[in-house]
Symmetry: D2
Subunit: 422 residues, 4 copies
Amino acid sequence: MASIPTDLSTRCSLLLPKYEAVRGFSHVLCEPLEIEDFVVQSMPDASPIRWHLAHTTWFFETFILKRFARNYQSIDPMYEYLFNSYYNGIGEQFPRPQRGLLTRPTVAQVMAYRREVDNRMGQLLLEASPEQSVQIAPLVELGLHHEQQHQELMLTDLKHALAQNPMYPAYESDAEQTTEKATLQSWHEVAGGIVEIGHTGNDFAYDNESPRHEALIPSLEIAGRLITNGEYLQFMDDGGYQRPELWLSLGWNTVQSQQWNAPLYWVRQGEAWHEFTLCGLRRLNEASPVTHVSYFEADAFARWQESRLPTEFEWETASRKVSVEGNFVESRTFHPAPTKETDGLRQMLGDVWEWTNSSYAPYPGFQPSEGAIGEYNGKFMCQQYVLRGGSCATSESHIRKTYRNFFPPEARWQFTGIRLAR
Amino acid sequence: MASIPTDLSTRCSLLLPKYEAVRGFSHVLCEPLEIEDFVVQSMPDASPIRWHLAHTTWFFETFILKRFARNYQSIDPMYEYLFNSYYNGIGEQFPRPQRGLLTRPTVAQVMAYRREVDNRMGQLLLEASPEQSVQIAPLVELGLHHEQQHQELMLTDLKHALAQNPMYPAYESDAEQTTEKATLQSWHEVAGGIVEIGHTGNDFAYDNESPRHEALIPSLEIAGRLITNGEYLQFMDDGGYQRPELWLSLGWNTVQSQQWNAPLYWVRQGEAWHEFTLCGLRRLNEASPVTHVSYFEADAFARWQESRLPTEFEWETASRKVSVEGNFVESRTFHPAPTKETDGLRQMLGDVWEWTNSSYAPYPGFQPSEGAIGEYNGKFMCQQYVLRGGSCATSESHIRKTYRNFFPPEARWQFTGIRLAR
Amino acid sequence: MASIPTDLSTRCSLLLPKYEAVRGFSHVLCEPLEIEDFVVQSMPDASPIRWHLAHTTWFFETFILKRFARNYQSIDPMYEYLFNSYYNGIGEQFPRPQRGLLTRPTVAQVMAYRREVDNRMGQLLLEASPEQSVQIAPLVELGLHHEQQHQELMLTDLKHALAQNPMYPAYESDAEQTTEKATLQSWHEVAGGIVEIGHTGNDFAYDNESPRHEALIPSLEIAGRLITNGEYLQFMDDGGYQRPELWLSLGWNTVQSQQWNAPLYWVRQGEAWHEFTLCGLRRLNEASPVTHVSYFEADAFARWQESRLPTEFEWETASRKVSVEGNFVESRTFHPAPTKETDGLRQMLGDVWEWTNSSYAPYPGFQPSEGAIGEYNGKFMCQQYVLRGGSCATSESHIRKTYRNFFPPEARWQFTGIRLAR
Amino acid sequence: MASIPTDLSTRCSLLLPKYEAVRGFSHVLCEPLEIEDFVVQSMPDASPIRWHLAHTTWFFETFILKRFARNYQSIDPMYEYLFNSYYNGIGEQFPRPQRGLLTRPTVAQVMAYRREVDNRMGQLLLEASPEQSVQIAPLVELGLHHEQQHQELMLTDLKHALAQNPMYPAYESDAEQTTEKATLQSWHEVAGGIVEIGHTGNDFAYDNESPRHEALIPSLEIAGRLITNGEYLQFMDDGGYQRPELWLSLGWNTVQSQQWNAPLYWVRQGEAWHEFTLCGLRRLNEASPVTHVSYFEADAFARWQESRLPTEFEWETASRKVSVEGNFVESRTFHPAPTKETDGLRQMLGDVWEWTNSSYAPYPGFQPSEGAIGEYNGKFMCQQYVLRGGSCATSESHIRKTYRNFFPPEARWQFTGIRLAR
């Protein structure tokens, strides 16, 4: 991650309000939950809410308190093992697919763990000298962005778990459903040539956004808004899921073996398509951006449109023109929504993560951070595709135009969607 | 199941105290649990506690209230699907391996479901005419024995779930551990010839215990007490898990593919074997009956001893001499215990279910009950072995000498143990 | 196996003609094959023809030549590993599911191996003293029966392999198809009581047929002939594969997961059912015995008929009345055929192996043979059902009324069929 | 593929000598084989030799004869299904993992199929008008390169099959083993900047090498020769397979689940490493290029060397300096060999396919060919990495500097190796 200047403003204590805001937001998100909802792991890729709450806390304990707090005593040595996600540099990890088999520590005990770590973190941030702050502050920043990532995962993992229940329980039943119509698609030119890509400046960014470097892009046009459910229905009606010529070979294998015939969470009831959302089962709104589609589906849709997905470099270059606004988690819709704007490059940030056709790879000269923290990003640079722009489950303060999210091409449980290029 | 005479004593109302006692005991067993403990399903063969509580209630609703209660309205039509275990005659079933993915109905809602069904059952039992009682009473008896079976499964499924947690949480931490020594083994003659096997009389029995019929058994000797942990350790020390000649072919395959080297729940810490129990992790007591062994292990142990397991007919014949006493769930030890008696046929009832070498098959002339209730037992008469005698997790009022329990030969999560014959 | 008297007639040399006849018959069976047909293993339960030819030879080398031939040198030490089926007492085994991955030794090399072993066996049998003969003769008998078992497996494994090919190649294309009509079913009384079961006398028998012992059977009626394809079609037309109430629970799971809707090898072309046979794809003959059904299907059919399968004791008792005649491999039809006889107990021997509802278990007092040869039968006495009577792929000189064949209840690739009892 | 000019020199008849040479080489490669070797499929990714011979023939029949030969009658309609690899545009395909279950058509029948297609192709090429030739010639070129690809796969698939046999049969036992010493590593500068990438000119190339386009590469150094077995042993001795920090996350998972501890085909005998080669099991030559390593292993080795793999653009740019010479299949060593040259950029072509760290993706503006032939390359552009340079199993006339081979990162059965960049 980017380094932070060493002047007085880096005193850790200045981070305390942000620390409390981010940590507190995890609890805000849990407010509608029953205890039972904290326990379930509905697939190996997802984790129980309990686990997310504990793991993000473990992160602060492991990478900050254990290193910097005076006379620090581990709160529970077993937690080091139970809540380590994938940091081999720290030690063994409890098997990921079995996270949903644990009933202890209970939710109440996890909350106590959070309180205890927060107390000690508060003390440390207040007391840290400027010299210590230089080391601690970037780790706190990292820990808070890490927690924000997990806040998004809490929503998507919870959604996946609730969707297993034929009763379709809602997380938030009061959100109003939009009745906007879809606006017309438009196309926007992006000039080709050598462009600068990657993070610059002193603000926080992950290590995978660096180093800033030059890339060569062709001249292209990028679509003004996201693909809608209505457009996706046309693809389906045109035999999209039955025509192998539209699909990558692995995609077609997946369509057949998984018997995909619609995006994840779409439910056919009689003649009408419905969509399971965090607000319960709803009749499909054709104006809303299509979401919960895999890279395979995004790619096949683009081929059907005689178009393509943008590269991450093209996306980042195009995004220069827009401001960081959009439908984020703060809107509390918990679902992508139709745009009301009728022209310009719209919905670049928020609503849905946009699949690019860039394999997730290191930028030239990429150096992961030192130590176990270097396992955060670099070791996943294989067999995944980059997504850009954040979603309706992302915090506004978490996203950047240089932000590189990544998932395997078959993943569908995130809020993922489609923007075309040509 | 056996029919009940139609005199006045069969008035359903007389069953009310038993109904309340059995139903209430399910709640007694749940007292030490956290909400989280009700949710988890640690393997496809096990079920969440929530599910057991709801399914046993569904049984009364489905087979009694829906047929006999006036103007009965289903409490929640979705429950019919969610809590049907395997009754194809009733309808589709929610997939068994996914029971642990449900978070709703919550524990509180399941408890409300139980209260509602209990209220309506209470009303029905009070109001039923003698004519109705003839039909209803046997079903109530069946439902209560069904609930007692699930009470045992609640304990064994919970134990399996808790055992997944490296923190080894205890269900009941206060039970005292015995310090008895093992008594000497003894052998008891059973005379051969034609014997009567199966249920007789008017008390309740499952349909699989009938019809009573003749069987031919050889003369034999049966062991006076159960095999102990100490004896089983000798088998292990003698290379029991490394010698294919001691094992059935399927057993040896299982030993190798599952990497079995001790009974389930045995944990080696340094030099000492420990055992995970419902009372937490304990140092292995060599005098206690070995438990959580599969049929394969029981059979290999017997071969090592140049001995064999009894048939279920031999066991039932031998059991005639003993009274129905023993270490049942009422003792609240939740674990098999050394016998204090030094001679005679001991531990036949309670402590552990005893593997017989009888495949589970219908008795000659067996007729399953009419309708969906006939799916209770008969359709499982394949690829399972019969166990006899009940365990430390069985209710004393649930067990009989003619009782036939059955599990596949690789099952280890029940309280199963070994008694030899020769 | 039964011991052989030690008089002069046991001189091994007297076994030579039988040795040559049985060994030669393996080659007769291979005559129609292409080299390619010797290589393939179409499922883990089946083996390549090459392997059968080598393994049966390994049996003589391992259990006779290595023990009794003077200065015996192993023909190829690697063969000991490659062609050991499951004898842990001999040593490690090449993994069974990978037998079809080997291309060496080639067919020609395997044939040379057979010639070499046959030469040495011939020499040994000629030269063995009476004292040696007492030991060797029973092993030769066992080896020859072992080879006959594998001859049957060669036909059924080959059939399974050929059936994978959509070109449906025939093993023997010239066999004429019968046009007989089905005869009427009849029922024959068998008196209940204590009966003698198991092998007696000096002729060869496997160890699992001993010791002869008493068993108790009820009075019953047994069907006069096998169930026909026409009768099985009625079961199918009556929804047999769609009605869970007809099936054991494991059977119904298998029907659903394997999508069974007819016996193995039945092929629907347009409106007409066809059957893949060793003589190619043929239109289904309704008069022929149904074959390639699992125990689950046999059991479900019997339940549909409000009838049941006989126990192996009942079958053996009923068989006393019949002579050992029938449609064996010598008829070279390679398929079960309608009976021409119109009354009496027909088709008991030959045509198809008849599923009994007896789990395969040791007879009281059963002792497997000493040493590795004791692994022949005993260790498989678990999770299998007994079949009786031999099939159209069995040698007439191989079968006996006390013969106990055994397969798991889902097995369908043997010539298995149905006879009812009630 | 690149178009071919329409002047007289494109008369198809001029292609006949090349047609015969390439087709004949398939038979040359089969000379050392036994019939048995043509049948086996040792894993789903590999195919039987029979299948390769038939499929390459099917390619000419399907894409040329059926379209251009007058009154063409399919040789066997079933072959269209059996030997279609993955062309959905042509029709259904026989399931890939079951190719090794087929014994018909026999090898002799496949050879007859080849002869028949070759005869008809010969006639067509002789008779084609110039107008037809414009269409046919590029397809013939494609078909011949397709056959050359399969010739390489025949060797690697055969090697994989032979390696399953503990007897380690050799394909070619006479090849002499080199005794060269390894030369010193050297580093060669490649200037950064905008470079031209992809195929140009009129010679044959696959569609995935087009369109030629600009790419931006950094300045770098590329290693002068391939990594040797000796260098790879140092990596192993330094705990290479035990240190998660050296591996991509997916790579580490694979190391653990597959229990990798050396390249594929390395065999430890006592203290010494051996290597199974097409010439049998040989003691490891430390000077030879390491081969049969996955992308994961190449990447981990590079990280251990504090170095990296080149991108495919870097590799192609560096290759401009070298000539297309090297250790190809024509050398009949069937194994990579140490280089004798001591300086300069060596071994770029031949010996082993060199892993690049470029995900296999379409070049900007890529257009697959029209029709089913367009399924040749494009649909596999996902989850694979590009390899460059050809191997000891590649035909010299088949390789080009712009040639893009591709395999998933876990693939090890090809002749794959490592060249570093930094």
